[in-house]
């Protein structure tokens, strides 16, 4: 997929893609950042940090299918917004979890949930996960990123990325088990 993307990177339009995405979707990016931070200055910071992060490694953006690229940048903007918010409010969730146990097992996310009730319950549960863990898992399953790519996208170490994914997936699985038992 990367080589296919690279084949068209020579054009000026491709090299300017990031600025086009920004211009076309700035309202959405701003709304995403502002909804968490409620402050223009911080929302601007979240957006610019997200775009600098994407600019540092364009291969990740080109690895994402064109129709999902806005969603990908949205996740990065949202993640930066949560990081800024956590810093301001002295929340240490990202640091403390690094000392958690890491499960090296395969992350199976294909187990089927049948009832709508269960589905709603799990969506509510996903909402209780930290954004750091949730976004890492989303990058893994929705965009098919490897741990190293998630680490690059979120500006964390590969080990931290692995821990976040493992933690999110295992917590969801654990919750599904509890739902089955009820």
């Amino acid at each position: 997929m990367i080589s296919a993307a690279l084949a068209v990177l020579g054009s000026e339009a491709e090299r300017n893609e990031l600025s086009h995405i920004y211009e076309q979707n700035i309202r959405l990016f701003y709304a995403v950042a502002f909804s968490k931070l409620h402050n223009q200055h911080d929302a601007e910071d979240a957006i610019q940090e997200a775009f600098l992060s994407v600019a540092n490694n364009p291969s990740l953006l080109f690895r994402v299918p064109a129709e999902k690229r806005v969603a990908y940048i949205n996740i990065i903007v949202r993640n930066k917004a949560y990081t800024i918010w956590n810093k301001k409010h002295k929340t240490e969730e990202n640091h403390t979890e690094l000392y958690d146990t890491v499960f090296d097992e395969d992350i199976s996310t294909e187990e089927k949930v049948i009832s709508d009730f269960s589905c709603r319950q799990i969506l509510k549960f996903i909402d209780t996960l930290s954004e750091a863990n949730r976004s890492a898992l989303y990058l893994k399953i929705h965009f098919g990123f490897g741990n190293d790519e998630i680490a690059d996208a979120l500006g964390i170490s590969e080990e931290a990325a692995k821990k976040r994914i493992s933690r999110a997936a295992s917590r969801i699985r654990q919750y599904m088990e509890e739902l089955k038992d009820e």
């Binding site: 893609e17 701003y30 949205n74 049948i114 969506l123 500006g155």
Partner: protein, 238 residues
């Protein structure tokens, strides 16, 4: 309805719902600092995309400027095309900088990228940080070829951005010369250029200079003279 979902579906659905229910809010006029950072991001993306493309075909990223026959013919063709299309591009030279002047911006290049370290071997920084400003730069802003510092004054929009890049990494930069004036400047005896903009009573100045080893760039929402004072206080970090 008994549709079956996987956890993958649900995590994706969660984000779809999240983004779908975000309320649209009016986008404000963004600060100069934001605009400057976004320009930097787009420039970096363009350069990294170009390198990605070149690397994929094992094409050297940069070639030495040589006035060979092909270059001269290309220059004549470009000048002719510019003439017949009515969009003449003026050029200027200032020390080690070359500029291509368009109607709303000037693209600035480094003329001679040789005699510069391949990587950032020693970092430059402000020896004296103006009162009230504090550094807020994240480490990932910087690369082995570029160092980036950001200073902000708390509870205000005042900021100072300082960057240091290898000459090879500098590539080019688009300066908004539609609203600003580009002039020659000297920083501690080194040649450079200065862009100063006054917009809605806000001052903004950006000074770019070649200190012999690296290209340094400092910008702030301050008057040109104050930014020059800051530039003169940039020294090797101890």
């Amino acid at each position: 309805m008994n549709k079956s979902y996987s956890v993958s579906d649900l995590v994706s659905l969660y984000y779809e719902n999240e983004f779908a229910c975000i309320e649209e809010i009016p986008v404000p006029g963004f600060s100069l600092r934001h605009k400057s950072s976004m320009k930097r991001a787009f420039r970096k993306f363009k350069k990294n995309s170009q390198n990605l493309y070149l690397n994929s075909y094992n094409i050297p990223a940069r070639r030495k400027n040589r006035l060979n026959r092909r270059t001269i013919i290309l220059a004549i063709v470009l000048a002719f095309l510019a003439l017949i299309s009515g969009c003449a591009v003026a050029q200027f030279l200032s020390g080690n900088f070359r500029g291509e002047v368009y109607h709303d911006n000037t693209e600035l290049f480094v003329v001679d990228a040789s005699n510069s370290p391949e990587f950032i071997e020693y970092k430059y920084n402000l020896t004296e940080i103006p009162e009230g400003f504090s550094p807020i730069t994240e480490e990932w802003f910087s690369t082995p070829f570029m160092v980036y510092y950001l200073y902000e004054k708390e509870n205000t929009r005042d900021h100072i951005i300082l960057s240091q890049s290898t000459k090879a990494d500098f590539g080019s930069i688009h300066l908004n010369t539609e609203k600003g004036e580009l002039t020659d400047i000297t920083v501690n005896g080194h040649n450079g250029v200065c862009l100063s903009i006054i917009e809605d009573n806000d001052n903004y100045a950006c000074i770019i200079w070649d200190n012999g080893d690296y290209i340094l760039e400092i910008s702030a929402n301050m008057e040109k003279e104050k930014v020059l004072e800051l530039a003169e206080k940039v020294e090797i970090e101890k």
